[in-house]
């Protein structure tokens, strides 16, 4: 009996990600969640610009490529035209928190009924390791070679906390891919978000902490350890908004 095999929601194309990059794990859990919820025929994904730019080659559903940072705007259009579809946006931190900040915040403020999967590796991966809005204090990048200095480069942006100040978002959670337990928790969160969306509940946002061994200049296993020990200090894991629990309490 097969305990684990590749989901049909991912194609057989070899992923181009660097060795040890946990992007592949997130692709898998998103694809498995879609399959397990039976949304294969109704799913539309929006690929970002960044490391995951070729996501449309990997997901076995309808995919649309968006201009840099504009994925939530494209998703808004698709979801409003085709409200019965399940639309997910897959964006990295440079795409979502930097150039696409306006689109992201306004889509959340409007309460658009799609799901955002936000991949936070605290660096610009594809372009060669520049400082991102989410780079940790003291973390080295090619554009802050002595480590991020708040006096010069400012402080990292925490998207979950920022979006949870808005009224409209339905579900906001930050998860991680640092070990098996956290990957299973991440899958649970993504599945929950897609389920809420398929029920027409509202804007759902899942931030996933991902490692970047290449640009952090670490071995893959050390990068996971760095993520567990350092990234989670700046980006604490947890649920920031869950209106289903609030509604549950209201009924109780």
């Amino acid at each position: 009996m097969k305990v684990f095999e590749k989901t049909k929601m991912l194609t057989d194309v070899h992923m181009h990600y660097c060795p040890g990059c946990t992007h592949g794990i997130v692709h898998r859990i998103v694809a498995e969640s879609i399959e397990e919820l039976g949304l294969e025929e109704k799913c539309i994904g929006i690929a970002p610009v960044g490391c995951a730019v070729f996501a449309y080659n990997y997901f076995n559903c309808d995919m649309q490529e968006a201009a840099h940072g504009r994925a939530p705007a494209v998703a808004t259009g698709i979801k409003r035209c085709l409200p019965d579809r399940t639309v997910f946006v897959y964006q990295g931190d440079g795409d979502l928190a930097s150039i696409g900040m306006a689109e992201s915040v306004h889509a959340a403020a409007r309460g658009e009924k799609f799901t955002v999967i936000f991949i936070n590796n605290s660096i610009y991966g594809m372009t060669g390791g520049q400082m991102a809005p989410t780079t940790l204090i003291g973390q080295k990048a090619t554009t802050c070679q002595g480590g991020r200095d708040p006096a010069v480069n400012g402080y990292p942006i925490r998207m979950c906390e920022l979006l949870s100040t808005l009224d409209a978002p339905y579900y906001i959670e930050r998860v991680s891919t640092q070990d098996v337990r956290h990957v299973l928790a991440a899958k649970k969160a993504i599945k929950k978000a897609l389920k809420f969306q398929s029920e027409g509940r509202g804007y759902t946002f899942i931030e996933v902490l991902v490692s970047c061994p290449t640009n952090w200049h670490m071995k893959p296993v050390d990068a996971l350890r760095f993520m567990a020990e350092e990234c989670t200090k700046t980006f604490p894991l947890g649920v920031f908004r869950d209106k289903s629990a609030e509604e549950g309490n209201a009924h109780a």
Partner: protein, 68 residues
């Protein structure tokens, strides 16, 4: 009996599977290279496999299939 199959074409030799395995079944090869030039992961102690699928859960390239 539990067993794993590693697709060497897909493996990038990152070692996350070996790190996740609680029974030390997997180890990175020191000389076996795939077409992309990665030193691939190998099941060196297959008899110890318990079929927990931790390796497959952590594999970013979906190179591992687990049977039980």
């Amino acid at each position: 009996m539990a067993s794993i199959t590693i697709d060497e074409k897909l493996c990038k030799g990152c070692g996350l599977c070996a790190n996740a395995c609680p029974k030390k079944v997997i180890s990175l090869s020191e000389h076996k290279m795939n077409a992309n030039g990665y030193l691939v992961a190998e099941a060196v102690n297959p008899q110890n496999c318990i079929g927990c699928a931790f390796c497959a859960i952590m594999c970013p390239d979906l190179a591992i299939t687990v049977e039980k």
